[in-house]
C-alpha cells in the first residue's frame, strides 16, 4: 500500500531514533525480566545457605538491574516520542507535497474545509502507527526470544512453552481482538456519523422543526441514535477488554505450565529445583513487559482506517501527467477562449457548467453576473487550471490550456478569490505572498489604493484572518493582487462586503492599473457595470445572454429583469 510506503520511508529516515528506542526498550525489558528472575533465584538460593558474599553480589545486581531498567525505559520513551514527532513532520511535508497538485481538484464543492481538517487528523493518527503499532511487537518479540534463549539453558521444554506464550501474546490474542474490532468498528463509525448528522440537523433546522411541530419526533429519534451509539461503543470496548483478559490469562496459564512442567522435570531429576521460582518469576514478568500488545489492536484499527482514507482522498488521485512545458508569457495582455466547456463537481449531481463558449479578447474587460450557484466561479477555476473541464476546449493566447505550465498561468495572473486565505503573521506577510520584493513605502501606498487606511503593515493577522472584518479581508486581497505584475485579472466578487463608495474608489484604482490588461470580474451587484466592455449573464451553468450594459438594458431580457429586482431592494447595507 502506497500510504504505508510513505510511512516506511519516513521511518527509515528516522532510523537512528527508532533504533535507539528499540535498544532502550529491549534493555528495559530484559532488565525487568532479569531483575525478577534474579530475585526468585536469590530466594531459592538462600535455602542452601550460601556464603554471604554471593547474596551481596546478587542483591546489588538486583538493584543495578532495577536502575538500568528505569533508565533505559526513560531513554526508550524519549527516543520513541522524538521519532514519532519527527515522523509527523515528515508525513506532513510529504502529504503537503502530494496535495499541492491535487488542490483544489480533490476538494468537492461542499465541505472542503472538513475534508482538509480530516486529512490533518488522519496524518496525525498515522504518526501513532510507529509508537503504538509498529514497534511494540518488535520489542516484545525480542525480549521473548532472549528469554527463550536464556531458559533453554535450563530446560528446552520450558523454553518451548515460552515460544508458545510469545506466539499467543504477540500474535494470536491481538489478531483475534483486531478481527473482532474490525467487525464492530464500522458500526461505531456509522452510528457516530448518524448521531452527529442528526444533532447538526436539529440545531440548524431548529426553527423549521419547531414551526413544523417536529421537535418531539426528532428528539425521540436522537435519543434512539444516542443509545445505539453507546451500545456500539461498548461492544467495541468489550472486544479490547476481552483481549486484555485473554492476555492476562495466557500469562497465568504459561506460568502455571512452567510450574507444572518444572515440577514434573524436577521429579524426573532433569531440572534443578532451585531454578523453579526463578522461571515462574520470569514468566510472570515477561508477559508484564508485553502489556502494550493489549492496546495495539485499537491503534492499529485507527491508523489503518486513517491510512485507507488518506489513500482514497490523496493518493488515489495520484496519477499525474508530467507538467507541460509551454509557458504563458506574462508580458502582454492575454486572450482567453472557452469552447463548449462543461464541468461537473465530483460530489454534485448536476453539471456546474453546461456547454459554455466564451471569448475574452486581449485587453477586454468582462463582467460575469448571475445568481449564486450559476457557475461563475467555476469559469475562473477552469481558466486558472485549478480544475480540469469535463469536456470542451480552453485556450489561452490560442494555446490549449493542457499544454500550458500551471505555474506560468498563475504567475501571469492577479487573482482575488471569493474567499481569500490569510495566514498567521502580519499584514506585510500577507501582502508579500508572491516572490516580488517591495519597500514598506510601496506597500503602504498599495494599502492606500485599496482604501485600507486604518491598518498598518505591522498589524497582526490571526489564523485565517480571524481578526479582520470581511471588508478588510477583501481590501487586503485586492492590495495583494495589485502588487502583482500579471496582465490577466481574475476577480471573484472582490468588493461584495464594501460599501458603494469604497467599492467605486477601489475599482477606479484597479481599472487604471489594469487599463491594457484582460480582466474578468464576477460581481453580485449590478451597479457600475456600464464601464465594462461586456457583461455575461449566467444561470444554472448556462450563458443566458451577453452584451454591453446598454445593449442588455435595451434587450429587456434576463439582465434587465435582474436589474429591476435589484432596484426594488431596500434597506440593504454593507460595512462602511
Amino acid at each position: 500500500m502506497n500510504e504505508l510506503a510513505i510511512l516506511t520511508k519516513a521511518m527509515i529516515q528516522e532510523r537512528k531514533d527508532i533504533a535507539m528506542a528499540i535498544i532502550g526498550g529491549f534493555i528495559a525489558g530484559i532488565a525487568g525480566v532479569s531483575l525478577f528472575s534474579l530475585s526468585g533465584y536469590l530466594i531459592s538460593k538462600t535455602v542452601f545457605a550460601p556464603p554471604l558474599y554471593t547474596l551481596i553480589v546478587l542483591t546489588s545486581l538486583v538493584k543495578i538491574l532495577g536502575l538500568l531498567r528505569a533508565a533505559s525505559r526513560y531513554a526508550e520513551r524519549l527516543y520513541a516520542h522524538r521519532a514519532t514527532f519527527s515522523l509527523l513532520s515528515r508525513l506532513r511535508t510529504s502529504f503537503f507535497a502530494k496535495l499541492i497538485p491535487l488542490t483544489p481538484g480533490i476538494l468537492g464543492k461542499k465541505r472542503s474545509g472538513e475534508l482538509l481538517a480530516r486529512i490533518v487528523g488522519d496524518v496525525e493518527s498515522l504518526q501513532h502507527y510507529f509508537l503504538r503499532v509498529a514497534y511494540p511487537p518488535i520489542i516484545v518479540v525480542m525480549v521473548f526470544l532472549a528469554t527463550v534463549l536464556y531458559t533453554s539453558a535450563f530446560s528446552i521444554w520450558i523454553a518451548c512453552l515460552f515460544v508458545v506464550g510469545m506466539l499467543a501474546a504477540a500474535f494470536v490474542v491481538p489478531g483475534l481482538v483486531l478481527l473482532g474490532l474490525r467487525k464492530v468498528h464500522g458500526r461505531v463509525r456509522r452510528q457516530r456519523t448518524v448521531f452527529s448528522t442528526e444533532v447538526t440537523e436539529l440545531l440548524y433546522g431548529f426553527r423549521d422543526l419547531k414551526v413544523y411541530g417536529q421537535l418531539n419526533k426528532r428528539e425521540e429519534q436522537l435519543q434512539h441514535a444516542s443509545s445505539a451509539l453507546s451500545e456500539e461503543q461498548q461492544a467495541s470496548a468489550v472486544h479490547l477488554l476481552r483481549g486484555q483478559s485473554l492476555h492476562a490469562f495466557v500469562m497465568y496459564l504459561i506460568s502455571w505450565g512452567v510450574l507444572v512442567l518444572g515440577a514434573y522435570l524436577i521429579m524426573n531429576g532433569s531440572f534443578a529445583g532451585v531454578f523453579l521460582a526463578m522461571l515462574v518469576m520470569t514468566s510472570l514478568t515477561v508477559f508484564e513487559e508485553a502489556a502494550p500488545m493489549a492496546t495495539l489492536p485499537a491503534y492499529k484499527q485507527d491508523s489503518e482506517h486513517a491510512a485507507k482514507r488518506l489513500a482514497e482522498t490523496v493518493l488515489a488521485a495520484d496519477v499525474q501527467a508530467p507538467q507541460p512545458t509551454a509557458i504563458l508569457s506574462g508580458n502582454q495582455a492575454v486572450s482567453l477562449e472557452l469552447c463548449g466547456v462543461s464541468f461537473q463537481y465530483e460530489d454534485e449531481w448536476r453539471p456546474a457548467l453546461r456547454d459554455v463558449s466564451l471569448h475574452f479578447p486581449a485587453g477586454s474587460k468582462t463582467a460575469i453576473v448571475g445568481p449564486s450557484g450559476s457557475g461563475k466561479t467555476t469559469i475562473i477555476e477552469l481558466l486558472l487550471k485549478l480544475r480540469a473541464s469535463t469536456s470542451g476546449q480552453i485556450r489561452i493566447n490560442d494555446v490549449s490550456i493542457d499544454q500550458l505550465d500551471d505555474a506560468s498561468i498563475w504567475q501571469a495572473s492577479n487573482v482575488v478569490m471569493q474567499y481569500s486565505h490569510f495566514f498567521r503573521g502580519t499584514i506585510r506577510d500577507n501582502l508579500l505572498l508572491g516572490e516580488e520584493r517591495y519597500t514598506d513605502q510601496a506597500l503602504s501606498a498599495i494599502l492606500d489604493k485599496a482604501q485600507l487606511t486604518n491598518k498598518s503593515l505591522d498589524d497582526a493577522v490571526y489564523e485565517k484572518g480571524e481578526n479582520l472584518s470581511d471588508g478588510e479581508k477583501q481590501r487586503i486581497a485586492l492590495a495583494r493582487a495589485m502588487l502583482r505584475k500579471g496582465r490577466l485579472w481574475f476577480l471573484d466578487e472582490p468588493t461584495s462586503s464594501l460599501d458603494y463608495i469604497t467599492e467605486r474608489l477601489v475599482f477606479r484604482q484597479l481599472l487604471s492599473q489594469a487599463r491594457d490588461d484582460t480582466l474578468i470580474l464576477i460581481c453580485h451587484r449590478l451597479t457600475g457595470l456600464e464601464e465594462m466592455d461586456r457583461i455575461v449573464v449566467m444561470d444554472h451553468g448556462r450563458i443566458m445572454e451577453a452584451g454591453t450594459y446598454a445593449e442588455l438594458m435595451e434587450q429587456k431580457g434576463y439582465f434587465y429583469e435582474m436589474k429591476q429586482i435589484e432596484l426594488q431592494m431596500v434597506g440593504e447595507q454593507c460595512e462602511v
Binding site: 531483575l35 530475585s39 530466594i43 531459592s44 538462600t46 545457605a49 542483591t59 538493584k63 531498567r69 528505569a70 525505559r73 526513560y74 520513551r77 524519549l78 516520542h81 522524538r82 514527532f85 509527523l88 513532520s89 506532513r92 503537503f96 496535495l99 488542490t103 482538509l116 490533518v120 496524518v123 448521531f195 447538526t200 440537523e201 440545531l203 440548524y204 433546522g205 431548529f206 426553527r207 423549521d208 414551526v211 418531539n216 461503543q233 461498548q234 468489550v238 497465568y252 502455571w256 510450574l259 515440577a263 523453579l276 454534485e348 449531481w349 445568481p371 450559476s374 485549478l386 478569490m417 486565505h421 495566514f423 498567521r424 508572491g434 485565517k464 451597479t527 432596484l567 431592494m569 440593504e572
Partner: protein, 606 residues
C-alpha cells in the same frame, strides 16, 4: 478539579448498585491475587523445598489454575461493570443534552455555535467515558486491593510490610509532582504549541492561495519548520514527565529491591523466615506497586474526563443566559439570536386554548411589547398595534434595527420581556404551542433541507399525513416540478446532508412548497436579501401573493413592491418602532423612511 462535579455525583448515585458491585468484585479480586501468590508459593515450596511427589501437589496446582481463572474473570467483570457504567452515563448525559437542546429554548445564534454543540454532544461525552470505564474501576481496585495485600504481608512478615508501607506514599506524591510540573511546562509552552500545531491545517486551507502566488513548494519548509518546532516544544514537556516517571520507577524498583534484600537477610542470617513466606511476599510486592502505579494512568484519564464532563455541564447550565453571550443578529440567515425561556408556558397543559376553535386568519395585537436578550443588551420596544385578519404587514428597517427579533416575537418564537402579543384577543402564550404553529408557516432566507427524500422535505410542512399527489401539487405550485424530474429518483431522491444538493433558489422554492401544503393562516416571511435566480424570484412573488390571499402575513421586507403592497409598514430603527402606516403615509411624514427607501437606488445610478 478538586471536588466532584454535579453530574458525576448524580451519576454515582444513579449507579450506586454498580459501584457496590465493583467494590465487592475488587475485594474478591484482591483475594484472588493473594490466593494466587499463596498457592504459587505453596506449590514451589512443596516441589522445590519439600520434594513432595507430583500427586501430592496436583490438588494445589488444580486449585491454582482455578484461582487464576477466577482472577481473570473477576478483572474482566470489573472492566465490564466499568464499561456498562460508562455506557449508561453517556446515554444519560446525551439524553439530558438533547432534552436541553430541543425543549429549553431556541438556541441562540446557532450559526456560530453549532459545531461546538455537536462536539460537546459527541466528543466531550465520549471523552467522559474513561472516567467511568477506567478511572472508577482502577480507583476502586487501588483503594481495596493494596490494603488487602498489605494486611496479608503484615501478618506474614512485619518488616516487609513496613518497607512497603513507607515506600508506597512516594508513588502518589510523584504522580502529583509529574502532573503539576508537566502542566506548568505545557502552560509555559502553550502559545508556541498552539502556533506550531495549527500551521499544517492553515497551510492546507491556504494552499490554493499559495499555489496562485507560486509559494506552495516553499511552504513545505515552513511546515517542516513548525513541525520540528512543535516536536521540540513538546519534547521539552515530555522530558519532564519522563524524568519524573524515571524517578517513580526507580522508587518502585528500589522498594522491591529492599524487600528482596530484607527477605534474603532474614532467610539466611536470622533464619526467621520460611521459604514459602519469603516467596509469597516477593510475589505480592510487584502486584502491590503496580496497582498503585496504575492509579497514575487512571488518574490522568480521569482528569481529562472530568474536564470533558465540565464542558457538558456548562452546556447544560448555559442555556439560560445564552442571550447574554450571543449578541443579537439580524438577517443572519439560519436562526438568529433567539433565546430565553421562550417556550410557550402552557404548552400541552389541559385547559389551554385550542387554536382551531378561534377565527383564522387571526387578529394579531401587540401590547407594549418589550424585549431584550440580556440585561445590558439593546432593548426592542414597540407600542400598541393591531393587525386585522388577513392583513399584510411589512417590517422595514436597516440591518440591526430589530426586524427579525420583532418577527420572532410575533411568531411566538420569543417571549416578550414585558407586554403581550395577543392572537384573537388571547395572549399568544396561552395557546398550545403545537396548535399555534399548526397555523403558521415561516419562510426563512435559508430554509433547512433535512436529510431525507425530496417528498419528505416538502411533506414536513403539512404536519399531517399527505398523499403523494398533494406533495406533487405543492411542488408544482412552487415551481419545483422541473427539479423533481431532473432528480434521478424523482420525488424519492435523497436530498440534504448526504444526498443531492439543492441551489439557494431551489431551497427557497421548497420552503414555498412546504407552505402550500400547510395552507397556513399566518405567514412569516423573511424576504431574501440577495437576488436569486429569476425563476425563483418570479415564483416567489406569485406564490407569496397566492398564499397570502387567505392569511395574515408578516414580512421582513427588502423589496420595494412588497413594501408598497403592504397594508401596514412597521418602520424600525434601533429597536424602536419609528413609524407605522402605509408606504405613502410614511414617505410623507418620516424623512428617515423616505431616505432609506431611496438611498440604495440613488447609489445605483450614481
Amino acid at each position: 478539579m478538586k471536588k466532584k462535579t454535579g453530574l458525576i455525583s448524580e451519576q454515582m448515585s444513579a449507579q450506586r448498585k454498580r459501584l457496590v458491585l465493583l467494590g465487592g468484585m475488587s475485594l474478591a479480586l484482591g483475594a484472588a491475587i493473594v490466593g494466587q501468590a499463596a498457592l504459587l508459593a505453596e506449590s514451589v515450596e512443596k516441589i522445590f523445598v519439600q520434594r513432595a511427589s507430583f500427586s501430592s501437589v496436583a490438588v494445589i496446582l488444580g486449585i491454582l489454575l482455578a484461582v487464576m481463572a477466577a482472577r481473570t474473570l473477576l478483572s474482566y467483570g470489573n472492566g465490564r461493570i466499568g464499561l456498562r457504567m460508562a455506557a449508561s452515563a453517556k446515554t444519560d448525559m446525551r439524553a439530558a443534552l438533547l432534552r436541553k437542546l430541543t425543549r429549553a429554548s431556541m438556541p441562540a445564534a446557532l450559526r456560530g455555535q453549532t459545531g461546538g454543540k455537536v462536539s460537546v454532544a459527541l466528543d466531550a461525552v465520549d471523552e467522559a467515558d474513561s472516567y467511568f470505564s477506567q478511572y472508577m474501576p482502577r480507583m476502586m481496585e487501588a483503594a481495596v486491593i493494596p490494603i488487602l495485600i498489605l494486611v496479608v504481608v503484615f501478618t506474614q512478615h512485619m518488616n516487609s510490610g513496613f518497607i512497603m508501607l513507607v515506600t508506597a506514599p512516594f508513588i502518589p506524591i510523584f504522580m502529583i509532582l509529574v502532573g503539576l510540573k508537566t502542566k506548568n511546562k505545557s502552560e509555559e509552552k502553550f502559545a508556541q504549541l498552539a502556533e506550531f500545531s495549527g500551521t499544517f491545517l492553515d497551510s492546507l486551507q491556504g494552499l490554493v492561495s499559495l499555489k496562485l502566488f507560486g509559494r506552495a513548494r516553499q511552504h513545505e519548509q515552513e511546515i517542516e519548520r513548525s513541525s520540528i518546532g512543535y516536536r521540540d516544544a513538546t519534547m521539552d514537556i515530555l522530558r519532564i514527565a519522563f524524568t519524573n516517571t524515571f524517578m517513580l520507577e526507580s522508587i518502585v524498583m528500589l522498594g522491591i529491591g529492599i524487600v528482596a534484600l530484607e527477605l534474603a537477610l532474614q532467610l539466611l542470617i536470622f533464619k526467621s523466615l520460611s521459604f514459602h513466606t519469603a516467596f509469597l511476599i516477593l510475589l505480592l510486592a510487584p502486584e502491590f506497586y503496580s496497582l498503585l502505579k496504575n492509579t497514575g494512568t487512571a488518574f490522568h484519564s480521569g482528569r481529562t474526563s472530568m474536564g470533558a464532563i465540565g464542558k457538558v455541564e456548562e452546556m447544560l447550565a448555559g442555556t439560560r443566559d445564552e442571550g447574554a453571550v450571543n449578541p443579537r443578529r439580524e438577517d443572519g440567515g439560519i436562526t438568529d439570536g433567539i433565546s430565553g425561556a421562550d417556550r410557550m408556558i402552557t404548552a400541552n397543559k389541559p385547559g389551554s386554548d385550542d387554536m382551531s376553535l378561534t377565527r383564522m386568519p387571526p387578529i394579531i395585537e401587540l401590547r407594549d411589547v418589550r424585549f431584550r436578550y440580556a440585561p445590558d443588551s439593546f432593548e426592542l420596544a414597540v407600542g400598541n398595534i393591531s393587525f386585522g385578519p388577513g392583513k399584510h404587514i411589512a417590517i422595514v428597517g436597516k440591518s440591526g434595527s430589530g426586524k427579525t427579533t420583532l418577527m420572532h416575537l410575533i411568531a411566538g418564537l420569543l417571549k416578550p420581556s414585558s407586554g403581550e402579543v395577543l392572537v384573537n384577543g388571547t395572549p399568544l402564550m396561552h395557546y398550545d404551542e403545537d396548535s399555534w404553529f399548526g397555523h403558521v408557516s415561516y419562510i426563512t432566507q435559508h430554509p433547512y433541507i433535512f436529510a431525507g427524500t425530496f417528498a419528505d422535505n416538502i411533506a414536513i410542512g403539512a404536519g399531517r399525513a399527505v398523499s403523494r399527489d398533494d406533495v406533487v401539487q405543492a411542488a408544482a405550485a412552487a415551481g419545483l416540478a422541473a427539479v423533481a424530474s431532473e432528480l434521478e429518483h424523482g420525488y424519492d431522491t435523497l436530498v440534504g446532508e448526504g444526498g443531492r444538493g439543492l441551489s439557494g433558489g431551489e431551497k427557497q422554492r421548497l420552503a414555498l412548497a412546504r407552505a402550500f401544503l400547510k395552507r397556513p393562516a399566518v405567514i412569516l416571511f423573511d424576504e431574501p436579501t440577495v437576488g436569486l435566480d429569476l425563476q425563483t424570484e418570479r415564483v416567489l412573488q406569485q406564490s407569496i401573493a397566492l398564499l397570502a390571499s387567505k392569511a395574515t402575513m408578516i414580512t421582513v421586507a427588502h423589496r420595494l413592491y412588497t413594501i408598497r403592497n403592504a397594508d401596514n409598514i412597521m418602520f424600525m430603527g434601533d429597536g424602536t418602532l419609528l413609524g407605522c402606516g402605509r408606504h405613502e403615509e410614511l414617505l410623507d411624514c418620516l424623512p428617515e423612511y423616505a431616505e432609506m427607501v431611496d438611498a440604495h437606488r440613488k447609489g445605483g445610478f450614481a
